[in-house]
């Protein structure tokens, strides 16, 4: 898995609550058997008109968010379907971190497996970021080692992230490899189960 220590980039804002993974990537793009190549269809139904032209009203199409790699989103982001394609699409588009009041559980898990950092912020703190966006400041640094976001304009805020997520991301852990190191414990568990039956 790709590690995450610190990242600086353009911040895009999507002010909607309960954005579900059907919106992040609609069903017709789940038929591919590859793990990458989903960036162009991220937010497909919102991003493009039916004729395939970009919808200028959709935030990601706004010129100030060109090349965005950090997303500010509404609460319960990524709810609904477990499709990891949603995370692949965000990652392939170029996002490295998402800041929101809350995330859906499976989505946050999927992000973690793909090196995409999800950071929960209280609404009040997000408002400060939104004010900054409204004032035309669109870059930010997200530092996972220091658990801090900061901007060249002097903006600064601390965040909390659980130790498990932080450790996995900082080290870019190969989770399957780690679990396989517990082979003895797994085999012992299986023997215990057979005896019980």
């Amino acid at each position: 898995m790709q590690s995450f220590r610190a990242h600086s980039g353009v911040v895009a804002v999507l002010r909607r609550d309960n954005v579900d993974t059907d919106q992040i990537i609609p069903k017709q793009f789940l038929k591919r058997i590859e793990r990458s190549g989903y960036g162009d269809v991220l937010f497909f139904d919102w991003r493009y008109h039916r004729d395939g032209q970009p919808d200028p009203a959709f935030p990601l199409n706004a010129p100030q968010y060109r090349g965005a790699s950090i997303l500010i989103a509404g609460k319960n982001f990524g709810c609904g379907s477990s499709r990891e394609h949603a995370v692949w699409a965000l990652r392939d588009y170029g996002f490295r971190a998402i800041l929101a009041p809350s995330f859906a559980d499976i989505f946050a898990n999927n992000c973690l497996k793909n090196g995409l950092l999800t950071v929960g912020f209280h609404q009040a703190e997000l408002e400060r970021l939104l004010a900054r966006d409204a004032a035309g400041v669109h870059t930010l640094k997200v530092d996972l080692e220091k658990c801090r976001i900061s901007g060249e304009d002097g903006f600064e805020a601390q965040f909390e992230v659980d130790e498990f997520t932080r450790t996995c991301l900082l080290k870019g852990l190969d989770e399957i490899g780690l679990t396989l190191n517990h082979e003895a414990a797994i085999a012992q568990y299986e023997r215990r189960q057979i005896r019980r039956e």
């Binding site: 909607r16 139904d45 559980d105 499976i106 498990f164 450790t167």
Partner: protein
């Protein structure tokens, strides 16, 4: 010993060892696989040169992108065919049993698991599908996972998990006639919101739950994810054991007796502590209909479309405005005045035999409205055959319904079953997200009986006042 919840008990018996940074390594008893979320996991396994640990605890079916009409062994959609072929190839290579399209046991993954007796109390069950929560109806800990975790389970039969919190949803009273499990769970989601149970495993309890059949309990647990829960569980009881006994993969003879004795201990101890508790009076629940683009946007059939001005916050008002625009609805419109173009009875939420019986009872002696196109998609081949043995399919086809083959179908519209832009559908599925049943389509979630009544009337009606002709 401290009083433990049902969830604690199932969790504790699956702990293999501690994982990194406060996580746990959890053993998985049953892994269900379908064509859409598994190909990248098998590819990852192959690329890393890893073996599959327990093909004997893994079962696969084809359900998400398959047609429900015609010769199903011939898929016209190239991408869908490639994905179906990939699953067949992976099952051959890794020696996984597959319920293929020509199998008498094929069906929606969450319908066939229980029906084959694969789903059993006290198990840990995962699948690359959020509605895996369905299996919690048996007192299993069952939850949806992403493709990376599918790969993890294929390779290790374990998952690294942080223990979620626990929530008790207790139903007092009994639901009235015409009020179903679907209405109970929609009322819970409307009450707590689509993130109300985020980070929690729900246990559903109370008189109303005890009175429900296994099929109805599955409907409740199925939609736990729509309240944001990690999983939903119901303690097993005599209803559970009666359902399971004799099913193909259920224990037999002496094994059955041992298992049943153990399963009876799978209940929350008196005094067990939950992180939160929600009370619902089932006697006060009416048939529910969603009006918006999130399952929490639901009101009783006697209600009306909400006014954005009544939203509690700016973001809630914005959500209502957006939803009303997408759904093409005006505030204060009576729910019973909303006309539908399509009716879909199906999905892992409501496509079991009881659901079909309940819809058939409403339809019997009536015809589908001229302005409505209606289809019914049984959850599995077994459900389809059982319904046909009861001659239920005739009731539907004579009324003007299409009677289809089993699959996920228009719940998510990955196959050709889709809404056209602007079409409005009464659906027994689980999600009313924008475009869920087809780009531009408008979904209203309801129970099978309510969907059947809407098919006849051409608009939503209160099924509690239905004139049955049986």
């Amino acid at each position: 010993m401290m009083a433990r919840t049902l969830f604690d008990k199932v969790w504790d018996r699956h702990l293999v060892c501690a994982g990194p940074a406060g996580s746990s390594l959890l053993y998985i008893d049953l892994h269900l696989v379908h064509e859409v979320t598994s190909p990248q996991a098998f590819a990852g396994l192959r690329e890393a040169g890893r073996k599959m640990r327990r093909p004997d605890l893994t079962f696969a079916t084809l359900d998400h992108n398959i047609p429900t009409l015609g010769n199903r062994m011939v898929l016209e959609d190239d991408l869908a065919r490639t994905q179906v072929e990939a699953l067949r190839q992976n099952c051959r290579e890794f020696d996984i049993p597959l319920f293929d399209l020509d199998s008498a046991e094929q069906g929606i993954v969450h319908v066939i698991g229980p029906e084959l007796g694969l789903t059993q109390p006290g198990m840990t069950i995962v699948c690359g599908d959020s509605h895996t929560s369905t299996h919690g109806a048996f007192g299993a800990l069952a939850f949806g996972i992403g493709t990376s975790e599918v790969e993890h389970v294929l390779a290790t039969q374990c998952l690294v998990q942080k223990k979620p919190k626990s929530m008790l949803v207790r139903f007092s009273g009994m639901p009235g006639p015409g009020v179903t499990a679907k209405d109970l769970i929609l009322s819970v989601i409307a009450q707590m919101g689509t993130d109300g149970a985020a980070g929690h495993v729900i246990e559903y309890a109370g008189e109303a739950i005890r009175g429900l059949s296994m099929e109805a309990r599955m409907t409740i647990c199925n939609m736990s994810i729509e309240a944001g829960a990690r999983a939903g569980m119901i303690a097993p009881d005599q209803t559970t054991f009666d359902y399971l006994e004799g099913r193909r993969f259920a224990p037999r003879g002496e094994h059955w007796n041992t298992a049943e004795k153990d399963w009876r201990t799978l209940q929350s101890d008196p005094g067990a502590q939950f992180d939160s508790t929600v009370e619902v009076n089932a006697g006060h629940v009416a048939p529910f209909v969603t009006w918006g683009t999130s399952p929490g946007m639901a009101v009783p059939i006697t209600g009306e479309v909400p006014d954005p001005n009544h939203g509690a916050s700016d973001s809630e008002r914005n959500s209502i405005v957006r939803a009303l625009e997408y759904m093409n609805l005006r505030p204060h419109t009576l729910i019973q005045e909303i006309a539908v173009d399509r009716v879909f009875i199906g999905s892992c939420t409501n496509a079991r035999l009881e659901d079909i019986r309940s819809a058939a009872r409403v339809i019997k002696g009536y015809r589908v409205s001229n302005s409505v196109q209606a289809m019914i998609v049984p959850g599995s081949q077994q459900v389809k055959r059982a319904a046909e043995q009861e001659e239920l399919h005739r009731i539907f086809t004579e009324a003007g319904f299409e009677w289809r083959e089993s699959g996920c179908s228009m719940c998510l519209g990955m196959n050709p079953d889709r809404l056209q832009p602007g079409e409005r559908c009464a659906s027994t599925s689980n999600r009313n997200f924008e475009g869920r049943q087809g780009a531009g389509g408008r979904t209203h979630l309801v129970s099978p009986a309510m969907a059947a009544a809407a098919a006849v009337a051409g608009h939503f009606v209160d099924v509690r006042n239905w004139q049955y002709k049986d």
